[in-house]
Each structure stands twice: as C-alpha cells, then as structure tokens.
C-alpha cells in the first residue's frame, strides 16, 4: 500500500501541473494515469499557446487568463514553447465590424496587437493568401504538450512525488462517507495497488464524470470532439488564425517540423470511442486552404481527434461554451477540476493546489509562475536544427532522434511503451509518422530487455493499426504514395500480417 497526502488522478497538463505545484509546496502526492502523460485532450490539441485572441470577443475572461499564462509559460518553459507569434488574417468578405470588436476587446483584456498591411503580412508569412485584406499580429506561441507534461513531472519526481503511469483507477475507497484512497490496476500486469491519501483530485478531463462516478458523484461537463490534421512540413512559421468568429478549421499552428490544422467541434458521449471522419478532414483542408492557398497541395500525414471537456452551460454549442474552468468540492475529500485549456493549465493547478493547502491549513505560496520548468537543460529546444549537432546513430530521420536518446529515455522510470518513447523524444512524429523508426525503437527497447520480442511485435502491430487509423481519413495524393510504401515494407518485406 502507498500512503500519501494527495492523490491526483489524471496525467494530462492539469494533473502534471498540480503535481509540480504540490511538489514545490512540499506536499507529498501520488499521480495516477491510466495511459501515458498527455494521452487525452492535452496531447490531442493544437499545441497552441493561446494569446487569448481567439476568445477575446466572446469569452473575455478566458482570454485574459490566456494572455497572462502565455507570458508566464514563455518565460518558464523556453524549451517547450516556441515563440512563433501569430496572425489573425482577414480575407475578402470577412466582417470588418468583427475586426473592430476584436481589436477593442484585445485591448481591454491586455493582448498586444499590431495591425499589418497585406504586404507586411506576406513578408512575414509568404504562403498566406495574397488577397488578404489585413492581418493582426498577436503573441501566439507553439507549445509541445508532451514535453510540458514531462517537465512538470520532473519537478514532482525530484521531490519524491510518486508517479504511476499505465495504472487505471478502478475504485475510489470510501470510509464513513469520505474518500480515503483508490485502487489502481497496472495495465501490463493487471496487478492492483492500493493508494491511501487525504485528498483526491479528479483531473481526468473528458473522463471526469466516469471518475466522479466511482465516488458516487458526478460533474457537469459536456464533451466536444475536435479533429486536426498534420501537414508534412511547416507551411507557415507563425500561427495563422482567421479573423472571424471561431469556427471549424480556422487555426494553423507550426509545431517542430510540421503544422497542425484544425479544428472541428462535434458533441460526443464516449471519450474512448472517437475517430476522425473524412468529411471533417475535407472541412479543415478547405478552410485552411483559404488562409494558406498551398495547403491543398500539401501532404497531410496524419489526422487525430481529442475531446474537450467543457463546462456544461445552458444551451449553446461547443464553440459558444466558455473555456473557463471550475473546481468542484464534492464535500467528501474528492475535488474535481473541470474545463480550462492547455494554455491555462498552470493557473488551474495553482488554484487547485491553493484549495488543497486550505484543507491542510498550510500557507506556503505558489511559486510555479516564477521558477523555470526543471529538466529543460536536457532538451535541445528550438529550432529543430539544434538537434543536428548530434548526428551520430540517428534512428528517426524526420525528428533527428538518436539511438542513444532512445536508450536513455527507455531507461527512465515508467517508459515501457513505444508511445512513451514517442512522446518523450518526438520519435515518429515527423513526416514518415514512424513508418521506419518505430521498428527500430522497438528493436532497441527489446535489446535492452525492456520487453520481450513478442511484446515488441504486439506493440508494432498496435502501432501500425493506430497509425493507419490516423492516416486513413486524409489518405490521398503523396501521402497515399508514402502509405503504399509502408504497406509494402510491413506486409511485403517483413510479411507481418501472417499470424503463425
């Protein structure tokens, strides 16, 4: 049995942020995550560190939070935040009145804007639609959610925080009407662990209601699926937003070697059963094409979908609901933290941790906004070409990941799955989407004794299925060529499908 003070359920940005905050305030804690870090909405988002511009008109409160956090994160997380800057682009036909409101609201909430002429905007991003009317520059950034989670966890681990990934909470233990602990089952071994704590925090995002149910409670969230597509290169070096009310496919974000374009907003009920519909891809591609005319001819290498856990409001669709967050005290030792965004994860963690401190009657103040994220010295940072300095033994040619890095990360606690390696190194996230390097990384992990050849073969199979599921909705053009090649390799040269 593990005894601790605070049990955090959920290893997304919120849960990892709370773990860091608790660690810095000296509170013992244990984080339990059913998959790997950033496996839910955190890892399936746009990777956009919002300036707040997107919400300024309709949700000024969320916008104000975004710009404040944006300024903090770019300071504390230099190696996971790329300061790309962003543009809001107004195309012919887009409302000028919206633009006026946008500028006014941005000023009100404190988002710095700069009005750019079409030619100035085209100087900055030559791939923009040349018929644009104007562009407004905002301090948007690109953020790597996987690294962000790992860096937050580093602070926790350094101070004795216990981290259980690939452990699913199956039960919340209640005694005399109070939540006193949880039971968690390890994915690989099915071993059950009991963890006892004084406070339990439900930071499971889209799974929030399921977890609250384990303690007999519920939470007012509504689930909205957002789908995105990944391009094979950086079609823009700045974040591109459409200057109009938020709608489908109106943001393109550069992220390391690729760009992420999206999103959509579709109500869903089960966060474990989501997929990308080819029609969504068509919408995103068409919309992105309007802002960046080259988009249509760009190879789309992957699609993915995440589920936004939004606060339930009266009426309104997914886009109209506030991006704000709320903490719910279930009055039995369980707290749920709901809503919010990746951009405001730190603020959410701070307020949640403040509540915990109240419970414990302690006064240590939050320092997560002042201290840089720990563990960044190991990262190469931006731009990607920094990684070219270590050219020896590269196994992932797209993202420049070396065999040594794979070995080092595989040696870290908790790294058991190919996904663990991919999230921590970006292996397989580039243009070939792991077509070549996954086989290599699994081979290396297997040689290290991290897994048996059978396990690594099973993971390769699962990886290829998952990869195909992600690629299928956008499979045409040059990506179909690439896909046929990958098929020739795994089904032809390696003859993988025959189960013998």
């Amino acid at each position: 049995m593990i005894r601790t003070d605070v049990i955090i359920i959920g290893g997304g940005s919120t849960g990892c942020g709370i773990a860091r905050d608790l660690a810095l305030r000296g509170i013992p804690h244990c984080l339990i995550e059913k998959g790997d870090f950033a496996a839910g909405a955190t890892g399936a988002c746009h990777g956009l560190l919002h300036s707040g511009g997107r919400y300024a008109v309709n949700d000024p409160e969320a916008a104000a939070e975004c710009i404040a956090e944006n300024m903090i994160l770019r300071k504390i997380g230099k190696k996971c935040v790329e300061q790309t800057g962003g543009l809001f682009v107004r195309l012919p036909g887009d409302s000028k009145r919206f633009r006026d409101t946008f500028l006014k609201k941005c000023e009100e909430v404190g988002i710095a804007t700069e009005e750019l002429s079409p030619s100035r905007a085209l100087d900055l991003v030559p791939t923009l639609n040349p018929s644009l009317e104007e562009a407004i520059r905002v301090p948007d950034c690109s953020i790597d959610p996987f690294r962000l989670c790992m860096l937050n966890i580093t602070s926790s681990q350094k101070r004795g925080g216990q981290i259980l990934t690939h452990h699913k909470v199956t039960e919340i233990i209640k005694e005399h009407g109070r939540c006193v602990g949880v039971k968690a089952r390890e994915e690989a071994t099915s071993d059950c662990k009991e963890i006892r704590g004084k406070v339990i925090i439900n930071a499971t995002g889209a799974w929030g209601d399921q977890v609250a149910h384990l303690a007999g409670g519920s939470v007012p969230i509504t689930l909205s699926k957002g789908s995105l597509v990944v391009t094979n290169h950086r079609i823009t070096n700045m974040v591109i937003n459409r200057l109009r009310p938020a709608s489908d496919g109106d943001i393109v974000v550069p992220n390391e070697a690729v760009c992420l374009a999206g999103t959509t907003s579709i109500p869903v009920t089960d966060p474990d059963r989501i997929g990308v519909d080819p029609a969504e891809v068509d919408i995103i591609a068409t919309q992105a094409q309007e802002m960046l005319p080259g988009f249509g001819a760009t190879r789309l290498i992957r699609t993915y979908a995440g589920v936004r856990p939004l606060l339930k409001a009266d009426g309104g669709d997914g886009r109209a609901i506030s991006r704000g967050f709320r903490i719910i005290d279930h009055q039995d030792g369980l707290f749920s933290i709901l809503g919010g965004k990746l951009t405001t994860y730190r603020l959410m963690a701070e307020q949640m941790t403040d509540r915990v401190m109240e419970v414990f009657g302690r006064k240590t103040r939050c320092r997560t906004a002042e201290l840089s994220l720990e563990g960044q010295e190991e990262l190469s940072g931006y731009p990607l070409s920094n990684r070219l300095k270590t050219l020896e033994g590269i196994v992932c040619e797209c993202e420049l990941v070396t065999a040594d890095t794979v070995e080092r990360v595989a040696g870290q606690v908790g790294a058991r799955h190919i996904g663990d390696i991919q999230h921590r190194t970006r292996l397989g996230m580039g243009p070939c989407q792991g077509g070549f390097c996954t086989y290599r990384a699994l081979g290396i992990m297997q040689e290290m004794g991290k897994m048996t050849p059978e396990e690594s073969m099973r993971m390769l199979r699962e990886f290829l299925q998952r990869r195909f599921k992600g690629i299928k909705p956008a499979l045409w053009g040059d990506q179909l060529r690439e896909e046929q090649l990958v098929e020739y390799i795994y089904l032809g040269i390696l003859n993988m499908e025959q189960v013998q």
Binding site: D282, V395, A403, L491, E497
Partner: protein
C-alpha cells in the same frame, strides 16, 4: 535534341525494363524514360508469383476474371519468368526456384514470406524449423534486430560482428573490401557454432553479391543465406542493378531522372514526349509507347480527395467508389479496395476508353492487379511487361 525510337517505354521499373529487354531482343530500337530508381529497389529482390499454398502458376486460374495475369496466360507467364532468369544469370545474379512451387524466405521479423523465385543468396532460407540456424547480426545496425528471429526459433543462436558502420548500405559496401571480408571470415571461423545454417541480413556486397556470398559460404563451409531488410534493401538494389545492366548491354537508351514535360499527339497517335531537363529540352519520338509508370507508390497514379488520375497521358482510370470505401479499417487485412484502381486494357494491353492507338500499358498501373492482396508484384510486372512488348512488337516494326 531529338531522338527517334521504335518503342518508347515510360517507367523504369520491373515491367518497363522487361518490356525493353523483350523488344530489344526483337531488334527494336528502344528507349526507357524513368523519373528515378524504381520501387523494386525497396523490395526483397524475390519474385512473388502468387501467394498460394499450392502451385502458384496453376493458382492463376483461381484469380478474378479481370486480373491482368489472365491477359497473359499461364504458359506465357512461365516463359516470361524464364526469360527473366536467363537475363539475371547473365548479369551474375542467378535466381533459383520453380514456377510450380512456392517457397519461404525468412524475414527480418522472423516470419516466413511466401515467394517463388529467389536470388541464390536466399536459396537456403527455406529451412526446416527444427534445424539449427545461427544468426549473424551487426553491432548497432539500425534495421536488423536478431531477437525477432531467435525468439521464434528456439533452436537458433546468435553472434554480433562490429563492422564499424550502422547502415545497411554502409555494411554492404564494406563487404566489397577485401581486408574487411577477410577479417569477417576469420572472426566467423573463430566462432564455435553448432552444425546448421548461417543467416545474416542482406549485406553481402552491394553489387558483387554472388562473389561475396560464395566466398562466405566456402569460407565457413556451411549453407549460408541472406535475410532481406527494410529499404534501402540491398537485395532489391541488386535486382535493379542486374536489370539495368541488362538494358545497357542491349544498347537500350536510358533517360534516367527525367520526367515527362509534355506529350505530342497527332490524330489518334502519340508522336513524341518531351522530357524535363535542366538544360536543353529532349524530345523523344516513338512509333509505339508503353506506359509502365506503376501504381500510386511509383507515381503512375495520383489520387486527389475524390478521384484518381493517370499522371502522364491523363488516361481515364478505374476508381473503386468513393474515398470512404478505398481502405479497410484493418491495416493488416489483405488488400485495400484502392489497389484495384488503375488502367483497364484490352487483350493486347491497349487502354480502353481512349482513342490513342499506339499506346500499351503494363505493370502495377493495370487495374485489378491488386499486388498486395495476391502477392504477385514482380511476377505480374515481369509477365505483363513481356506480354505488352510482344503485343506492340508488330506495330513498331
């Protein structure tokens, strides 16, 4: 520059190269235009005829009526494969096998791949699972992990040699260096290996496969075989190298690394194509043209969000329904519907739905070929390449 040929072949893959050799054998003046090195460079180098438990040649009879093999006919398929073997023997890359019997080759994942003709370096790959095999791997080689094999064959051993480089082509090149080969052989000789076969990834020389392979076999006095690896696949490169040499030996003009810039038509005939060029334009004129540009992977077909086009002559391509139906959900399910896409041809390999009279089509761009589903890639390419050449031979006279 203007050049005039009897037959101009567009596409330098297996089908285009076999068509070229066939026509050259009939005394025709032939050109082959290719945008780059073909997909066979990525292949195992083995010739898949048809993956079936029984006689693969007879198995052709069980394929759907619209499969391109039926246009060739069993006897002609067998003859085409013999022609291929003859060519490759001449080039020093002999193939073994029998068109009436499939055989297995061991893959880098320890699976058995069903194929028909194999390069001599893989002759002994079809071993009895009870027999001892000793796998030689190379230190830090990034595309070969012997545990995938040894874990499946309890009766297998494993040793690691350090070649000083980690890529497949890098190691293969080292094997062409005499002192390196000798140090490898002396290391191998010093190992205490139980009686059985020796397996190693396909790195025994980039081009001099036969020589290095025979020397290693003789040096250790055992049955040795190579295991095909991920691209860049050395055994695939040897197949391509052998074929390309055969073309050069026959005086066939190769326009390599050149795309088609424009097509000239006169009435119902194609007169010439102009090639993309860094310098002066090259115009290539022909009496007949053969289209052998391959499927999607090779760029012969191009899919957009909702349609499929043929990239050189804009021929109408057969399309299996809308995009939702192109793929199975299961990556490993045999054959996605999109594999049926391609050019439909008549009995003499001329595209239907076009007025053009002097154009022939062969290889995996043919509709209904479904090479992954039936595992018939190189076999179908060789057979239809030869057959399309036979069909256009008369016209080009």
């Amino acid at each position: 520059m203007n050049a005039v040929y009897d037959v101009v072949i567009i596409g330098g893959g297996m089908s285009g190269m076999m068509a070229a050799v066939t026509l050259a054998g009939k005394g025709r003046k032939v050109a082959v235009i290719s945008k780059g090195d073909p997909v066979c460079c990525f292949s195992t180098g083995c010739i898949d005829l048809l993956a079936t438990g029984g006689d693969p040649l007879e198995g052709i009879g069980t394929l759907p009526d619209n499969h391109p093999y039926h246009l060739v006919g069993k006897d002609a398929v067998a003859k085409a494969l013999e022609l291929f073997r003859g060519i490759m023997s001449e080039e020093g890359v002999p193939y073994v096998g029998d068109v009436h019997a499939n055989r297995g080759v061991l893959t880098s994942l320890g699976r058995r791949k069903t194929t028909c003709l194999v390069p001599e370096t893989m002759e002994f790959s079809d071993f009895d699972p009870d027999e001892y095999i000793h796998v030689i791997s190379f230190h830090k080689m990034k595309d070969f992990y012997p545990q995938y094999i040894t874990s499946r064959y309890p009766n297998a051993g494993h040793s690691i040699f350090d070649p000083g480089v980690i890529t497949t082509p890098g190691i293969a090149e080292k094997f062409e260096n005499r002192p390196f080969l000798e140090s490898f052989l002396s290391w191998l000789g010093g190992l205490d290996i139980p009686e059985g076969r020796i397996a190693l990834p396909a790195v025994l020389g980039k081009s001099l496969a036969g020589d290095v392979y025979r020397e290693v076999s003789a040096g250790c006095g055992r049955k040795v075989f190579e295991i095909p690896t991920l691209p860049p696949s050395i055994s695939g490169l040897r197949l391509f190298g052998g074929m390309k040499n055969a073309l050069l030996r026959r005086g066939i003009d190769l326009y390599w690394g050149r795309g088609i810039y424009s097509v000239e038509k006169l009435g119902n005939r194609i007169e010439a194509v102009t090639l993309t060029s860094q310098g002066r334009a090259t115009r290539v004129e022909g009496t007949a043209f053969i289209l052998a540009t391959g499927s999607f992977v090779s760029g012969g077909l191009q899919a957009s969000m909702d349609t499929v086009t043929e990239t050189i002559f804009d021929l109408s391509a057969y399309l299996p329904g809308g995009r939702e139906g192109w793929f199975n959900d299961d990556f490993f399910a045999p054959g996605h519907e999109i594999e049926k896409a391609g050019i439909r041809v008549d009995a003499s390999f001329r595209p239907v739905d076009t007025e053009i009279e002097n154009l022939y089509v062969c290889g995996s761009i043919l509709a209904f070929s479904e090479v992954m589903k039936y595992r018939c890639g190189h076999g179908m390419a060789i057979a239809t390449g030869v057959a399309a050449a036979e069909a256009c031979g008369g016209l080009a006279q």
